[in-house]
Amino acid sequence: MEEKDNKLNSPMARRDFLRKCGALLAGGALAAVGGVLGTKVSAREGEMMWQIDPEKCLQCGRCETECVLPVSAVKCFHANQVCGYCDLCGGYYRANVKELNTAAENMMCPTGAITRLFVEEPYFEYTIDEKLCNGCGKCVKGCSSFGNGSLFLQIQQELCLNCNECKISKVCVSGAIQRVPVSQGYKLKDHA
């Protein structure tokens, strides 16, 4: 405490001076970073969210296992506008099933998340129960191999934790997971 009374060229005055220089330098550096990036920030675009590009997705199955959530935030979405409403659905039944009934061994979905409803001869409406879906993408693969490709995987935003870096995106084999502005909305398949 007494040092403050010392003459100007005392160590304390020198340290104080150095510290002020340092503060100026640090402040300048922060202002520079803020200035440079301030011009770049996407205030207009607003927030970003993680989305799968359904066109790129290859259903490798990693969405099911790599998400940080216990049950993946990736869910199967269904584009009814694209669906053929087939009875023999490649996403609903496994390939080469003997009998078209709903026995578990015939079902493509391992969790029973796909239900179907008879609409009229010969059409069936398919619905995904998101609570059961684990995002494995087996039905998506079936549908895009044998059907119209109306089933696709997408990141359900109500579940997604919006990690700073999506863990699935780092192991996605096709680089299909990207950040898109929230204002763009979901990447869907069913816009007519």
Binding site: V33, L37, G38, M48, Q81, G84, L161, E165, Q184, G185
Partner: protein, 407 residues
């Protein structure tokens, strides 16, 4: 708006329903992301003001403790961590390195606000606003002091971590700070085994050692430490004169309070000055050496990038049966080998440049730390070292000079 995506072949025609069937209207829920992130920022700002006030105007540990609990509950368990100031380093680096990356305004502010506060008031962000620091603080029961030499050596590791985080973020390889975040698994009550084990062991460690993550790992804490070492208002144990009672020194969880030091005896002044001159000469050499060392390894490091990884997989001999999914996908997507090679060359070039930068940073900090360690100063009283002090305020209640000041 959303791009139109149709399957390449519509194998089955659109059904023409005769029963008057209507397509169901499926609405996929959207979160209030905009709302939440701004609310987070507002709460962060409010908490920081509160802590700055509690530290500087009204020395009070109780307020900081309350803020810690709120932070762990809100930022930790409720908001589950993302995006945070520590991780925002990577977003900022990426935005500086890659102009095509769009940095959200909130993330920029999350990066800048704690640093600006540190410039004015010291590390008030660490005090209790950061949920990771707060969590470690709350479980810290017994504080075994680590020897100063070990602590200084370990205190260098955040800079290595920061260097690699910059390297991997700038090259769009990985956000390692997020990937190896120890406490996010605890906050989310889920995560892979490694993450949970790391988190829990660090938490157990912080029962006995104050804030191990903040002191020996956190790269943002390293930045805050630099800024707060030149802070305009320093954190003080007491406004009254120190009576050298040693109580604050014993209470400090991060060992930031230095005891009085006579700086006499030992070596002659000339030896000390010579050592400092040597280190000052070594500073540019260490900087260049660090850059050279890391950049010489840049090709090996670049395997963290997705394209380089894929390229090395393609180069290696593969069993047709055990084809990695990456290679299958490469063929399935019909990507051209030339494109991949061009991309790999670009990535390796970027790696070389950024490894220079990261290595130079690490080398410079090493040199700087050596200089700082050899500058010995006389202290007549107990003094807070501002770069280590996390402004937790534990010392306030221990200082006998503060009795009666609060009420």
């Amino acid at each position: 708006m959303t791009t139109l995506i149709y399957p390449l072949v519509a194998r089955f025609p659109k059904p023409d329903f005769t029963s008057g069937y209507q397509y169901p209207e499926i609405i996929h829920g959207m979160p209030w992301e905009q709302f939440w992130s701004w609310l987070d920022l507002a709460i962060l700002l409010g908490m920081m003001c509160l802590v700055a006030w509690a530290v500087h105007r009204r020395p009070s540990r109780r307020i900081i403790f309350t803020v810690s609990i709120v932070s762990v509950l809100y930022f930790g368990f409720f908001r589950t961590g993302c995006v945070c100031s520590i991780g925002s380093i990577q977003n900022v680096v990426l935005a500086l390195a890659d102009s095509s990356y769009r940095l959200p305004l909130v993330v920029l502010l999350l990066f800048l606000v704690p640093l600006v506060f540190a410039l004015f008031f010291g590390r008030v962000f660490c005090a209790g606003v950061c949920p990771m620091g707060a969590l470690q603080e709350l479980v810290n029961v017994r504080n075994f002091r680590i020897s100063r030499s070990v602590a200084s050596a370990l205190g260098f590791s955040p800079w290595i971590y920061l260097g690699f985080a910059i390297l991997y973020a700038a090259t769009r390889s990985q956000f390692i700070i997020c990937r190896f975040d120890p406490f996010i698994g605890i906050f989310r009550l889920s995560g892979d085994v490694g993450m949970i084990v790391f988190g829990i062991s660090l938490l157990v460690l912080s029962v006995f050692v104050g804030r191990p993550f903040c002191r020996f790992l956190c790269p943002y804490g390293a930045l805050l430490g630099v800024v707060s070492s030149v802070a305009i208002r320093r954190v003080e144990v007491t406004k009254k004169p120190c009576i050298n009672c040693t109580l604050c020194h014993n209470s400090c969880p991060v060992d930031a309070i230095r005891e009085p030091y006579a700086n006499k005896g030992g070596e002659s002044r000339l030896v000390g000055v010579r050592r400092i001159i040597l280190y000052v000469v070594m500073l540019p050499l260490l900087t260049l050496g660090g850059g050279w060392l890391l950049s010489s390894q840049s090709d090996t490091l670049s395997i963290a990038h997705r394209d380089v990884y894929l390229y090395t997989l393609l180069q290696s001999d593969l069993d047709a049966e055990e084809m990695p999914v990456e290679v299958e996908a490469f063929h399935e997507m019909g990507r051209k080998m030339e494109d991949l090679e061009a991309s790999v060359a670009d990535v390796r070039q970027a790696y070389h440049a950024w490894a220079w930068a990261a290595g130079a940073l690490i080398g410079f900090v090493l040199g700087w730390k050596l200089i700082r360690l050899s500058v010995k100063r006389t202290r007549k009283t107990y003094e807070i070292e501002p770069s280590s002090c996390v402004a937790c305020g534990k010392c306030f209640d221990y200082c006998p000079q503060n009795i009666g000041v609060k009420k």
